[in-house]
Protein backbone atom coordinates (compact mmCIF):
# COMPACT_ATOMS: atom_id res chain seq x y z
CA UNK A 1 0.00 0.00 0.00
CA UNK A 2 2.81 2.43 0.89
CA UNK A 3 4.57 1.30 -2.25
CA UNK A 4 1.66 2.51 -4.35
CA UNK A 5 1.69 5.76 -2.40
CA UNK A 6 5.35 6.49 -3.15
CA UNK A 7 4.94 5.43 -6.77
CA UNK A 8 2.03 7.80 -7.18
CA UNK A 9 4.02 10.60 -5.58
CA UNK A 10 6.97 9.94 -7.89
CA UNK A 11 4.72 9.80 -10.94
CA UNK A 12 3.06 13.12 -10.14
CA UNK A 13 6.38 14.80 -9.44
CA UNK A 14 7.85 13.42 -12.66
CA UNK A 15 4.91 14.67 -14.71
CA UNK A 16 5.27 18.08 -13.11
CA UNK A 17 9.00 18.28 -13.81
CA UNK A 18 8.41 17.33 -17.43
CA UNK A 19 5.81 20.07 -17.71
CA UNK A 20 7.54 22.81 -15.80
CA UNK A 21 4.95 25.44 -16.60
CA UNK A 22 2.79 23.91 -13.91
CA UNK A 23 5.40 24.83 -11.35
CA UNK A 24 6.33 28.16 -12.82
CA UNK A 25 2.98 29.72 -13.66
CA UNK A 26 1.55 29.94 -10.12
CA UNK A 27 4.92 31.25 -8.99
CA UNK A 28 4.96 33.99 -11.61
CA UNK A 29 1.39 34.84 -10.70
CA UNK A 30 2.44 35.14 -7.06
CA UNK A 31 5.39 37.40 -7.82
CA UNK A 32 3.42 39.57 -10.23
CA UNK A 33 0.44 40.14 -7.95
CA UNK A 34 2.65 40.95 -4.97
CA UNK A 35 4.58 43.48 -7.02
CA UNK A 36 1.34 45.10 -8.18
CA UNK A 37 0.70 46.42 -4.67
CA UNK A 38 3.70 48.75 -4.39
CA UNK A 39 2.80 50.03 -7.85
CA UNK A 40 -0.77 50.73 -6.80
CA UNK A 41 0.01 52.13 -3.35
CA UNK A 42 3.16 54.01 -4.17
CA UNK A 43 6.60 53.66 -2.65
CA UNK A 44 5.37 54.23 0.90
CA UNK A 45 7.73 52.29 3.09
CA UNK A 46 5.74 52.46 6.34
CA UNK A 47 2.44 51.50 4.76
CA UNK A 48 3.94 48.67 2.70
CA UNK A 49 5.72 47.30 5.73
CA UNK A 50 2.46 47.32 7.62
CA UNK A 51 0.40 45.49 5.02
CA UNK A 52 3.12 43.25 3.57
CA UNK A 53 2.12 40.10 5.51
CA UNK A 54 -1.49 40.57 4.42
CA UNK A 55 -0.47 41.08 0.79
CA UNK A 56 1.72 38.00 0.74
CA UNK A 57 -0.84 35.82 2.49
CA UNK A 58 -3.81 36.87 0.36
CA UNK A 59 -1.76 36.41 -2.80
CA UNK A 60 -0.54 33.00 -1.62
CA UNK A 61 -4.18 32.08 -1.04
CA UNK A 62 -5.11 33.08 -4.58
CA UNK A 63 -2.06 31.42 -6.13
CA UNK A 64 -2.83 28.15 -4.33
CA UNK A 65 -6.42 28.35 -5.44
CA UNK A 66 -5.47 28.87 -9.07
CA UNK A 67 -2.97 26.04 -9.03
CA UNK A 68 -5.56 23.61 -7.65
CA UNK A 69 -7.00 23.04 -11.09
CA UNK A 70 -3.95 20.94 -12.02
CA UNK A 71 -4.49 18.61 -9.11
CA UNK A 72 -7.04 16.21 -10.56
CA UNK A 73 -7.83 17.68 -13.98
CA UNK A 74 -5.52 15.68 -16.26
CA UNK A 75 -6.03 12.46 -14.32
CA UNK A 76 -9.74 12.98 -14.54
CA UNK A 77 -9.65 13.61 -18.27
CA UNK A 78 -7.46 10.67 -19.26
CA UNK A 79 -9.26 8.26 -16.98
CA UNK A 80 -6.41 7.41 -14.64
CA UNK A 81 -8.43 8.75 -11.73
CA UNK A 82 -11.02 6.07 -12.41
CA UNK A 83 -8.27 3.46 -12.43
CA UNK A 84 -7.09 4.77 -9.10
CA UNK A 85 -10.46 4.07 -7.52
CA UNK A 86 -10.05 0.43 -8.58
CA UNK A 87 -6.75 -0.06 -6.78
CA UNK A 88 -6.67 -2.13 -3.64
CA UNK A 89 -5.45 0.83 -1.61
CA UNK A 90 -8.29 3.15 -0.53
CA UNK A 91 -8.75 6.29 -2.57
CA UNK A 92 -8.71 8.46 0.54
CA UNK A 93 -5.16 7.24 1.19
CA UNK A 94 -3.98 7.65 -2.39
CA UNK A 95 -5.18 11.21 -2.74
CA UNK A 96 -2.79 12.25 0.03
CA UNK A 97 0.07 11.27 -2.30
CA UNK A 98 -1.33 13.48 -5.02
CA UNK A 99 -1.79 16.36 -2.59
CA UNK A 100 1.73 15.97 -1.23
CA UNK A 101 3.06 16.11 -4.77
CA UNK A 102 0.90 19.11 -5.52
CA UNK A 103 2.17 20.92 -2.43
CA UNK A 104 5.80 20.18 -3.34
CA UNK A 105 5.16 21.50 -6.83
CA UNK A 106 3.19 24.63 -5.99
CA UNK A 107 3.37 25.33 -2.26
CA UNK A 108 7.07 24.91 -1.69
CA UNK A 109 8.24 27.29 -4.46
CA UNK A 110 5.95 29.98 -3.05
CA UNK A 111 7.56 29.61 0.35
CA UNK A 112 11.06 29.69 -1.12
CA UNK A 113 10.41 32.89 -3.06
CA UNK A 114 8.69 34.63 -0.14
CA UNK A 115 11.84 36.05 1.54
CA UNK A 116 12.70 37.82 -1.71
CA UNK A 117 9.23 39.26 -2.04
CA UNK A 118 9.26 40.28 1.62
CA UNK A 119 12.35 42.31 0.84
CA UNK A 120 10.51 44.06 -2.00
CA UNK A 121 7.86 45.06 0.54
CA UNK A 122 10.46 46.30 3.08
CA UNK A 123 9.54 43.64 5.63
CA UNK A 124 12.09 43.44 8.48
CA UNK A 125 14.06 40.19 8.53
CA UNK A 126 12.89 39.06 11.97
CA UNK A 127 9.31 38.97 10.70
CA UNK A 128 10.29 37.14 7.53
CA UNK A 129 11.19 33.99 9.43
CA UNK A 130 7.74 33.92 11.07
CA UNK A 131 6.16 34.64 7.71
CA UNK A 132 7.92 31.64 6.19
CA UNK A 133 6.92 29.54 9.19
CA UNK A 134 3.23 30.47 8.84
CA UNK A 135 3.37 29.64 5.15
CA UNK A 136 5.05 26.34 5.92
CA UNK A 137 2.26 25.33 8.29
CA UNK A 138 -0.52 27.06 6.37
CA UNK A 139 -0.07 26.13 2.72
CA UNK A 140 -0.49 22.34 3.23
CA UNK A 141 -3.83 23.12 4.89
CA UNK A 142 -4.76 25.24 1.90
CA UNK A 143 -3.89 22.37 -0.45
CA UNK A 144 -5.91 19.87 1.56
CA UNK A 145 -9.02 22.05 1.88
CA UNK A 146 -8.72 23.13 -1.73
CA UNK A 147 -8.51 19.51 -2.83
CA UNK A 148 -12.00 18.88 -1.44
CA UNK A 149 -13.40 21.76 -3.46
CA UNK A 150 -11.57 20.80 -6.65
CA UNK A 151 -12.70 17.20 -6.24
CA UNK A 152 -16.28 18.47 -6.17
CA UNK A 153 -15.88 20.67 -9.24
CA UNK A 154 -13.46 18.67 -11.41
CA UNK A 155 -16.23 17.32 -13.63
CA UNK A 156 -17.63 20.79 -14.32
CA UNK A 157 -16.78 22.77 -17.40
CA UNK A 158 -16.74 26.16 -15.68
CA UNK A 159 -15.42 25.07 -12.34
CA UNK A 160 -13.15 28.06 -11.81
CA UNK A 161 -15.54 30.65 -10.41
CA UNK A 162 -17.45 28.08 -8.39
CA UNK A 163 -14.18 26.79 -6.98
CA UNK A 164 -13.39 30.23 -5.58
CA UNK A 165 -16.87 30.47 -4.06
CA UNK A 166 -16.41 27.14 -2.33
CA UNK A 167 -12.85 27.49 -1.23
CA UNK A 168 -12.31 31.05 -0.08
CA UNK A 169 -14.67 30.99 2.94
CA UNK A 170 -12.95 27.82 4.12
CA UNK A 171 -9.52 29.45 3.81
CA UNK A 172 -10.37 32.30 6.16
CA UNK A 173 -9.31 30.70 9.48
CA UNK A 174 -5.84 30.00 8.10
CA UNK A 175 -5.58 33.55 6.81
CA UNK A 176 -6.70 35.02 10.12
CA UNK A 177 -4.32 33.01 12.27
CA UNK A 178 -1.38 33.61 9.97
CA UNK A 179 -1.84 37.37 9.87
CA UNK A 180 -2.52 37.48 13.61
CA UNK A 181 0.76 35.65 14.21
CA UNK A 182 2.61 38.19 12.10
CA UNK A 183 0.94 41.12 13.83
CA UNK A 184 2.01 39.68 17.16
CA UNK A 185 5.62 39.39 16.05
CA UNK A 186 5.50 42.91 14.68
CA UNK A 187 4.41 44.20 18.08
CA UNK A 188 7.09 42.21 19.84
CA UNK A 189 4.95 39.37 21.16
CA UNK A 190 5.31 35.65 20.59
CA UNK A 191 3.39 34.02 17.74
CA UNK A 192 3.44 30.58 19.31
CA UNK A 193 -0.28 30.43 20.08
CA UNK A 194 -1.31 31.24 16.50
CA UNK A 195 1.23 28.85 15.04
CA UNK A 196 0.01 26.09 17.35
CA UNK A 197 -3.54 26.83 16.23
CA UNK A 198 -2.52 26.66 12.57
CA UNK A 199 -0.79 23.38 13.20
CA UNK A 200 -3.92 22.05 14.89
CA UNK A 201 -5.97 23.05 11.86
CA UNK A 202 -3.43 21.31 9.62
CA UNK A 203 -3.68 18.10 11.64
CA UNK A 204 -7.46 18.26 11.52
CA UNK A 205 -7.30 18.80 7.76
CA UNK A 206 -4.91 15.86 7.32
CA UNK A 207 -7.15 13.51 9.26
CA UNK A 208 -10.54 14.53 7.87
CA UNK A 209 -10.17 15.96 4.38
CA UNK A 210 -8.90 12.77 2.61
CA UNK A 211 -12.26 11.12 3.28
CA UNK A 212 -14.15 14.12 1.98
CA UNK A 213 -11.89 14.26 -1.08
CA UNK A 214 -12.39 10.57 -1.85
CA UNK A 215 -16.16 10.87 -1.43
CA UNK A 216 -16.22 13.98 -3.61
CA UNK A 217 -14.13 12.32 -6.33
CA UNK A 218 -16.48 9.37 -6.39
CA UNK A 219 -19.42 11.74 -6.85
CA UNK A 220 -17.58 13.54 -9.66
CA UNK A 221 -16.63 10.31 -11.40
CA UNK A 222 -20.21 9.14 -11.31
Amino acid sequence: MFNIWTQLLKRDLLIAFRRRSEIIHPLIFFIMVVSLFPLAIGDDKVLLQKIAPAIIWVTALLATMLSLDNLFRSDFEDGSLEQMTLLQAPLSFLVTAKITAHWIITGLPLILITPVLAMLLYLPTDIVSTLVLTLLVGTPTLSLIGAVAIALTVALRQGGVILSLLVLPLYIPVLIFATLALQNVEQGFSAEAQLAMMFAILLLAITLSPFAIAAALKVSLN
Binding site: A149, L152, L156, L165, A215, V219
Partner: protein
Amino acid sequence: MKIVTNITRLYHQFASPPYFYRISGLWLPYIMGLCGLLFAYGLYSGLFLAPTDYEQGEAYRIIFVHVPAAWMSMFIYMVMAATGVIALVWRLKLAEIVMISCAPIGASFTFLALATGSIWGKPMWNTWWVWDARLTSELLLLFLYFGVMALYNAIEDRRTAARAVAILALVGVVNIPIIHYSVEWWNTLHQGPTVTKFDKPSIHLSMLIPLLVMAVAFKLFFIANLFMRVRTELLKREQNSKWVRALLELK
Protein backbone atom coordinates in the same frame (compact mmCIF):
# COMPACT_ATOMS: atom_id res chain seq x y z
CA MET B 1 -37.74 -3.44 20.01
CA LYS B 2 -41.23 -3.07 18.65
CA ILE B 3 -41.04 0.67 19.16
CA VAL B 4 -37.82 0.83 17.18
CA THR B 5 -39.28 -1.05 14.24
CA ASN B 6 -42.34 1.15 14.39
CA ILE B 7 -40.20 4.24 14.31
CA THR B 8 -38.15 2.97 11.39
CA ARG B 9 -41.33 2.13 9.52
CA LEU B 10 -42.73 5.57 10.20
CA TYR B 11 -39.46 7.09 9.03
CA HIS B 12 -39.47 5.18 5.77
CA GLN B 13 -43.09 5.98 5.24
CA PHE B 14 -42.48 9.66 5.80
CA ALA B 15 -39.57 9.60 3.39
CA SER B 16 -41.65 8.33 0.51
CA PRO B 17 -42.54 11.24 -1.77
CA PRO B 18 -46.30 10.62 -2.17
CA TYR B 19 -46.77 10.16 1.55
CA PHE B 20 -44.77 13.27 2.38
CA TYR B 21 -46.68 15.25 -0.21
CA ARG B 22 -50.02 14.24 1.28
CA ILE B 23 -49.06 14.71 4.93
CA SER B 24 -47.27 18.01 4.41
CA GLY B 25 -50.30 19.27 2.52
CA LEU B 26 -52.45 18.41 5.52
CA TRP B 27 -50.09 20.08 7.99
CA LEU B 28 -49.29 23.17 6.01
CA PRO B 29 -52.45 25.23 6.81
CA TYR B 30 -52.06 24.59 10.54
CA ILE B 31 -48.38 25.48 10.55
CA MET B 32 -49.06 28.64 8.60
CA GLY B 33 -51.98 29.59 10.82
CA LEU B 34 -49.99 29.11 13.99
CA CYS B 35 -47.05 30.94 12.46
CA GLY B 36 -49.29 33.90 11.59
CA LEU B 37 -50.75 34.03 15.09
CA LEU B 38 -47.34 33.93 16.74
CA PHE B 39 -46.01 36.56 14.36
CA ALA B 40 -48.94 38.82 15.16
CA TYR B 41 -48.53 38.38 18.91
CA GLY B 42 -44.74 38.53 18.86
CA LEU B 43 -44.60 41.66 16.72
CA TYR B 44 -47.33 43.41 18.70
CA SER B 45 -45.81 42.64 22.09
CA GLY B 46 -42.31 43.32 20.83
CA LEU B 47 -43.06 46.61 19.14
CA PHE B 48 -45.72 48.01 21.49
CA LEU B 49 -45.90 46.17 24.82
CA ALA B 50 -42.24 45.59 25.65
CA PRO B 51 -40.70 48.48 27.61
CA THR B 52 -38.27 50.88 26.02
CA ASP B 53 -34.65 50.05 26.65
CA TYR B 54 -33.05 52.72 28.80
CA GLU B 55 -29.73 52.60 27.00
CA GLN B 56 -30.69 51.83 23.42
CA GLY B 57 -34.09 53.56 23.31
CA GLU B 58 -36.72 52.41 20.82
CA ALA B 59 -34.14 51.27 18.31
CA TYR B 60 -33.47 48.09 20.22
CA ARG B 61 -36.83 46.72 19.06
CA ILE B 62 -35.24 45.49 15.87
CA ILE B 63 -33.84 42.57 17.88
CA PHE B 64 -37.23 40.91 17.67
CA VAL B 65 -36.46 40.34 14.01
CA HIS B 66 -32.68 40.41 14.04
CA VAL B 67 -31.95 37.82 16.73
CA PRO B 68 -34.42 35.15 15.52
CA ALA B 69 -33.12 35.64 11.96
CA ALA B 70 -29.54 35.13 13.14
CA TRP B 71 -30.54 32.02 15.07
CA MET B 72 -32.34 30.65 12.03
CA SER B 73 -29.38 31.31 9.75
CA MET B 74 -27.25 28.89 11.77
CA PHE B 75 -30.05 26.45 12.58
CA ILE B 76 -30.87 26.01 8.89
CA TYR B 77 -27.26 25.24 8.04
CA MET B 78 -27.35 22.51 10.68
CA VAL B 79 -30.59 21.15 9.21
CA MET B 80 -28.96 21.19 5.81
CA ALA B 81 -25.92 19.27 7.07
CA ALA B 82 -28.04 16.75 8.99
CA THR B 83 -30.23 16.03 5.97
CA GLY B 84 -27.01 15.92 3.96
CA VAL B 85 -25.78 13.05 6.11
CA ILE B 86 -29.09 11.25 5.63
CA ALA B 87 -28.88 11.85 1.89
CA LEU B 88 -25.33 10.51 1.71
CA VAL B 89 -25.87 7.45 3.87
CA TRP B 90 -29.36 6.31 2.93
CA ARG B 91 -29.64 7.97 -0.49
CA LEU B 92 -33.13 9.22 0.31
CA LYS B 93 -34.49 11.41 -2.42
CA LEU B 94 -36.60 13.36 0.04
CA ALA B 95 -33.58 14.14 2.23
CA GLU B 96 -31.74 15.45 -0.81
CA ILE B 97 -34.62 17.72 -1.71
CA VAL B 98 -35.03 18.97 1.87
CA MET B 99 -31.31 19.68 2.04
CA ILE B 100 -31.19 21.69 -1.12
CA SER B 101 -34.43 23.52 -0.34
CA CYS B 102 -32.87 24.71 2.91
CA ALA B 103 -30.10 26.65 1.16
CA PRO B 104 -32.03 29.60 -0.30
CA ILE B 105 -34.12 29.98 2.87
CA GLY B 106 -30.99 29.93 5.02
CA ALA B 107 -29.27 32.43 2.78
CA SER B 108 -32.29 34.73 3.03
CA PHE B 109 -32.32 34.56 6.82
CA THR B 110 -28.60 35.23 6.91
CA PHE B 111 -29.09 38.22 4.67
CA LEU B 112 -31.97 39.41 6.86
CA ALA B 113 -29.82 39.10 9.97
CA LEU B 114 -27.04 41.08 8.31
CA ALA B 115 -29.38 43.76 7.00
CA THR B 116 -31.27 44.27 10.27
CA GLY B 117 -27.99 44.20 12.17
CA SER B 118 -26.63 46.89 9.93
CA ILE B 119 -29.75 49.04 10.45
CA TRP B 120 -29.36 48.52 14.18
CA GLY B 121 -25.67 49.29 14.08
CA LYS B 122 -26.24 52.74 12.59
CA PRO B 123 -27.81 54.31 15.71
CA MET B 124 -25.93 52.09 18.21
CA TRP B 125 -22.37 52.07 16.91
CA ASN B 126 -22.81 55.01 14.53
CA THR B 127 -21.76 52.94 11.53
CA TRP B 128 -23.49 50.63 9.06
CA TRP B 129 -20.79 48.04 9.18
CA VAL B 130 -17.90 47.07 11.45
CA TRP B 131 -15.54 44.17 11.01
CA ASP B 132 -16.77 42.68 14.22
CA ALA B 133 -16.50 38.95 14.88
CA ARG B 134 -20.17 38.06 14.76
CA LEU B 135 -20.92 40.21 11.76
CA THR B 136 -17.99 38.69 9.94
CA SER B 137 -18.91 35.11 10.73
CA GLU B 138 -22.46 35.81 9.63
CA LEU B 139 -21.12 37.20 6.36
CA LEU B 140 -18.98 34.10 5.91
CA LEU B 141 -22.02 31.95 6.56
CA LEU B 142 -23.72 33.79 3.72
CA PHE B 143 -20.73 32.95 1.51
CA LEU B 144 -21.01 29.29 2.50
CA TYR B 145 -24.68 29.31 1.48
CA PHE B 146 -23.75 30.93 -1.83
CA GLY B 147 -21.17 28.22 -2.43
CA VAL B 148 -23.75 25.51 -1.78
CA MET B 149 -26.24 27.05 -4.17
CA ALA B 150 -23.62 27.68 -6.85
CA LEU B 151 -22.41 24.08 -6.71
CA TYR B 152 -25.92 22.71 -6.86
CA ASN B 153 -26.79 24.81 -9.88
CA ALA B 154 -23.56 23.98 -11.69
CA ILE B 155 -24.03 20.21 -11.72
CA GLU B 156 -26.61 19.09 -14.21
CA ASP B 157 -27.73 15.79 -12.77
CA ARG B 158 -29.88 16.64 -9.74
CA ARG B 159 -28.97 13.58 -7.70
CA THR B 160 -25.22 13.91 -8.28
CA ALA B 161 -25.52 17.59 -7.46
CA ALA B 162 -27.31 16.79 -4.22
CA ARG B 163 -24.58 14.39 -3.16
CA ALA B 164 -21.86 16.89 -3.97
CA VAL B 165 -23.73 19.53 -1.98
CA ALA B 166 -24.10 17.14 0.95
CA ILE B 167 -20.32 16.66 1.09
CA LEU B 168 -19.80 20.41 0.87
CA ALA B 169 -22.33 21.05 3.64
CA LEU B 170 -20.52 18.57 5.88
CA VAL B 171 -17.15 20.17 5.20
CA GLY B 172 -18.80 23.48 6.01
CA VAL B 173 -20.16 22.17 9.31
CA VAL B 174 -16.71 21.05 10.41
CA ASN B 175 -15.39 24.46 9.43
CA ILE B 176 -18.08 26.64 10.97
CA PRO B 177 -16.77 26.40 14.57
CA ILE B 178 -13.21 26.97 13.35
CA ILE B 179 -14.29 29.97 11.31
CA HIS B 180 -16.40 31.24 14.20
CA TYR B 181 -13.64 31.09 16.80
CA SER B 182 -10.92 32.35 14.51
CA VAL B 183 -13.05 35.38 13.77
CA GLU B 184 -13.96 35.73 17.43
CA TRP B 185 -10.32 35.96 18.46
CA TRP B 186 -9.62 38.20 15.54
CA ASN B 187 -11.94 41.00 16.56
CA THR B 188 -14.98 41.47 18.73
CA LEU B 189 -17.15 44.45 19.51
CA HIS B 190 -20.57 42.85 19.41
CA GLN B 191 -22.45 42.77 22.69
CA GLY B 192 -22.27 39.39 24.42
CA PRO B 193 -25.19 36.97 24.26
CA THR B 194 -28.00 38.07 26.55
CA VAL B 195 -30.39 35.16 26.17
CA THR B 196 -28.39 31.97 26.21
CA LYS B 197 -27.08 32.49 29.73
CA PHE B 198 -29.42 30.01 31.30
CA ASP B 199 -28.74 30.71 34.95
CA LYS B 200 -29.85 34.30 34.76
CA PRO B 201 -30.53 35.84 31.37
CA SER B 202 -29.49 39.48 31.40
CA ILE B 203 -32.52 40.33 29.27
CA HIS B 204 -35.71 41.27 31.10
CA LEU B 205 -38.63 38.85 30.93
CA SER B 206 -40.89 41.41 29.25
CA MET B 207 -38.45 41.52 26.36
CA LEU B 208 -37.51 37.84 26.47
CA ILE B 209 -41.04 36.51 25.94
CA PRO B 210 -41.73 38.39 22.68
CA LEU B 211 -38.27 37.41 21.52
CA LEU B 212 -38.89 33.73 22.13
CA VAL B 213 -42.35 33.94 20.54
CA MET B 214 -40.74 35.50 17.49
CA ALA B 215 -38.12 32.76 17.44
CA VAL B 216 -40.82 30.08 17.36
CA ALA B 217 -42.72 32.03 14.71
CA PHE B 218 -39.57 32.18 12.57
CA LYS B 219 -39.06 28.46 12.98
CA LEU B 220 -42.62 27.74 11.88
CA PHE B 221 -42.19 30.12 8.98
CA PHE B 222 -39.11 28.18 7.96
CA ILE B 223 -40.95 24.86 8.17
CA ALA B 224 -43.89 26.17 6.14
CA ASN B 225 -41.56 27.65 3.54
CA LEU B 226 -39.51 24.47 3.42
CA PHE B 227 -42.61 22.30 2.97
CA MET B 228 -43.81 24.43 0.10
CA ARG B 229 -40.44 24.32 -1.62
CA VAL B 230 -40.09 20.58 -1.12
CA ARG B 231 -43.60 19.95 -2.43
CA THR B 232 -42.94 21.96 -5.57
CA GLU B 233 -39.63 20.23 -6.15
CA LEU B 234 -41.21 16.82 -5.60
CA LEU B 235 -43.88 17.53 -8.19
CA LYS B 236 -41.25 18.75 -10.61
CA ARG B 237 -39.00 15.73 -10.21
CA GLU B 238 -41.69 13.11 -10.07
CA GLN B 239 -43.81 14.55 -12.85
CA ASN B 240 -43.81 11.27 -14.73
CA SER B 241 -44.67 9.09 -11.78
CA LYS B 242 -48.03 7.58 -11.14
CA TRP B 243 -48.90 9.45 -7.99
CA VAL B 244 -48.34 12.87 -9.50
CA ARG B 245 -50.46 11.98 -12.50
CA ALA B 246 -53.22 10.69 -10.25
CA LEU B 247 -52.99 13.91 -8.29
CA LEU B 248 -53.25 16.04 -11.39
CA GLU B 249 -56.17 14.12 -12.80
CA LEU B 250 -57.99 14.37 -9.54
CA LYS B 251 -57.80 18.13 -9.55
